[in-house]
Amino acid sequence: MSAANTEVLYGLYDDEEILLEAVKKAKEDHLEIMDVFTPFPVHGLDPILGLEESRLHIAGFIYGAIGTLTAFLFMTWVFTRDWPIIFGGKPYFSAPAFIPITFEVTVLMASVGMVVTFYTICGMAPGVTNATLDDRITDDKFCIAFNTNGASSDVLDKLKGFFSSTGASEVNSKTI
């Protein structure tokens, strides 16, 4: 997520609609938001925050295509080159019969590949501990965090002013 020893000033909001207004305000004031943490996916947040659309589906397509080719070409190789066998008088290359397995392997590769990619790019894995700002973020608090490494007191005051003017219910700082 972020490098060690980052000083963070964060505000907690009680409702996602107040959060959305606050994020809009922060963008208008040209404040650089480090991250926003929410207990559930808040719709409408991504465009305001300026997040680009995830490219995970492109990765998924590539994994799926690899699966399709692997399965189909492998079965073709086995039955036309490696060990041709006649089943029920059908041709060696009986493509329609290869379709079910080709489909299953496509889905399998796309799904497994995407899930592994998802956890990798999010920096997540079994047993990984990523620093969290507040335990209530996974419950009912919506959090805007600013990186305040080496920030002057003027900047800190400005951020605190931003939090109080946008209706944050709590403002805290933490080194993560």
Binding site: D35, V36, P41, W83, F87, E104, F118, T138, D139, D140
Partner: protein, 489 residues
């Protein structure tokens, strides 16, 4: 957040819940010591599981001869149970994937438990093809791996091998889909826990933080997995039906099998979801998340799929007669009036006739009727598979080889035992994971909570709440005195 919600649409979350209250209601059952009811249920389930292990050991030690299969009837309870369990394993992915694509918000109340049920049902299903090989330890021969016999590959043209790929892919994808949904909820459990419990949930929540970018990717992943799982779930039972349909046995060799099997699978899966949900919502006190409205929606699906299955049964009979092919005609005559006529009667009455009761709203919304019906449907769907398998095999082309089949105690034990396996896993699941998707429920609160929509909503029901007029977890008029006024943080 500006979702348009019809004011007449029934609220999916009752009791004027706040976000914190949702966490509290759904997560707290995992934090308490188990109730006596749970302990008793668990002991019964584990006993069933132990008996299952015993019966498998018996089968392996004595051999398949301990079953009553014979030269004519080579598939009996084993494959009946396999198809029955796979069918049950279809509802979870249907609810989570197809209903996600159709934007059906009521899925959020039941998807987590239904997916868990799917995974456990597929695990039970997977047992039977393995056990009926007899030599369990050679089970890995079904995979195409480079071997010292040539290498001699598996038969990629065989529907039995397609089954291997379909079931294992379905299991893997369902598991990934389910677990990815669980990760944010495990993080919620983690952040409420202390000590060792926190360490354990920290391990299983993979370091989830709730970052906006992670949520965006998570939603993207869920949507694509849903898109992939939708054709997958349809393909799995299609391929299971190919086990029969691609054979040259009259009564099996029919093109109607794939859609008919898929409808039957959804039918039986929803029935099992109803059986489990009705008990789970009662014991874990989740009636405000799994509402009568949810139950009614599922009963509508049961009515629809049950009727599709009924039409398929009648179509089969008609086409057998209309084909003018005597072997086909005899197969179906035998299916209805042959030695297994009683299983056909059981199938028809449980699957086709009894679900028609759900045309009445009163019965769709009755918990008692729903529970009884869900058991009926499960029995009926078991009979359906038995009818297809046993009646067809019992009367083959040569009258001299006609036969009859009754299961031995080992075969019955294996079936009862998988129920033990299934309920053991399900009961553990209800103890360790939130049985309702916490984050997803919170995400629909503003458009489906009863303080925002429906007859008890603040102001004009369809208005999506705004901080200024409704405080989070607001004070609303509701008729349930126990759970009102839920602002407690």
């Amino acid at each position: 957040m500006s979702a348009v919600v019809s004011p007449i649409r029934e609220p999916l979350i009752q009791g004027g819940k706040s976000y914190h209250q949702i966490t509290e209601d759904i997560v707290s059952p995992t934090e308490k010591t188990p109730s006596t009811a749970w302990v008793i249920a668990f002991i019964i389930a584990v006993t069933g599981l132990a008996f299952y292990v015993f019966c498998v050991a018996w089968t392996v030690w004595v051999g398949i001869g301990s079953w009553d299969l014979n030269r004519t009837i080579g598939w009996g309870w084993d494959i009946t149970n396999f198809v029955w369990w796979v069918g049950i394993g279809h509802a979870g992915t249907l609810i989570s994937a197809i209903l996600l694509l159709f934007r059906q918000k009521w899925r959020t109340g039941v998807n987590r438990a239904a997916e868990a049920m799917t995974i456990f049902a597929v695990m039970c299903a997977g047992q039977f093809p393995l056990i009926h090989m007899g030599r369990l330890w050679l089970g890995f021969f079904i995979f195409p791996y480079p071997n010292t016999r040539g290498p001699l590959w598996v038969n990629f043209n065989s529907p039995l091998l397609w089954d291997v790929f379909a079931i294992s892919t379905y299991f893997t994808v369902s598991l990934l889909f389910w677990y990815t949904g669980l990760v944010p909820d495990f993080a919620t459990v983690r952040d409420r826990a202390k000590g060792l419990r926190r360490k354990i949930y920290n391990f299983v929540s993979f370091g989830w933080t709730g970052s906006a970018k992670h949520w965006q990717r998570w939603e993207s992943l869920s949507l694509i997995l849903a898109g992939l799982a939708t054709p997958l779930v349809l393909s799995v039972h299609t391929i299971v039906s190919f086990d029969f349909a691609t054979s040259v046995i009259p009564g099996w060799h029919t093109t109607i099998f794939p859609p008919y099997f898929v409808a039957g699978a959804i039918f039986s899966g929803f029935a099992m979801v109803q059986t489990l949900m009705l008990i789970t919502r009662k014991i874990l006190k989740l009636e405000q998340y799994i509402t009568i409205g949810h139950i009614e929606s599922m009963n509508k699906v049961i009515l629809l799929t049950g009727t599709i299955v009924g039409v398929a049964y009648l179509t089969e009979l008609f086409i057998a007669w209309y084909s003018g092919y005597i072997y086909e005609q005899f197969a179906f005559y035998n299916r209805v009036l042959g030695p297994y006529w009683w299983s056909y009667v059981g199938m028809m009455s449980c699957n086709v006739l009894s679900p028609q009761i759900f045309w009445w709203k009163k019965f769709r919304r009755s918990i008692f009727v729903t529970f009884v019906m869900s058991i009926f449907v499960n029995i009926g769907m078991w009979f359906e598979r038995f009818v297809i398998i046993a009646t067809t095999l019992a009367r083959d082309y040569l009258p001299s080889s006609w036969s009859y089949y009754t299961p031995t105690w080992v075969e019955i034990g294996l079936f009862v035992g998988t129920l033990g396996l299934f309920f053991t896993l399900y009961l553990i699941f209800t103890r360790v994971a939130p049985v309702v998707a916490v984050a997803e429920i919170k995400a629909i609160l503003k458009s489906a909570g009863d303080q925002y929509t429906g007859p008890n909503a603040h102001g004009h029901g369809h208005h999506v709440g705004h901080k200024k007029d409704i405080p989070a977890g607001g004070t609303v008029d509701i008729d349930d005195p126990e759970t009102g006024q839920s602002t407690d943080h």
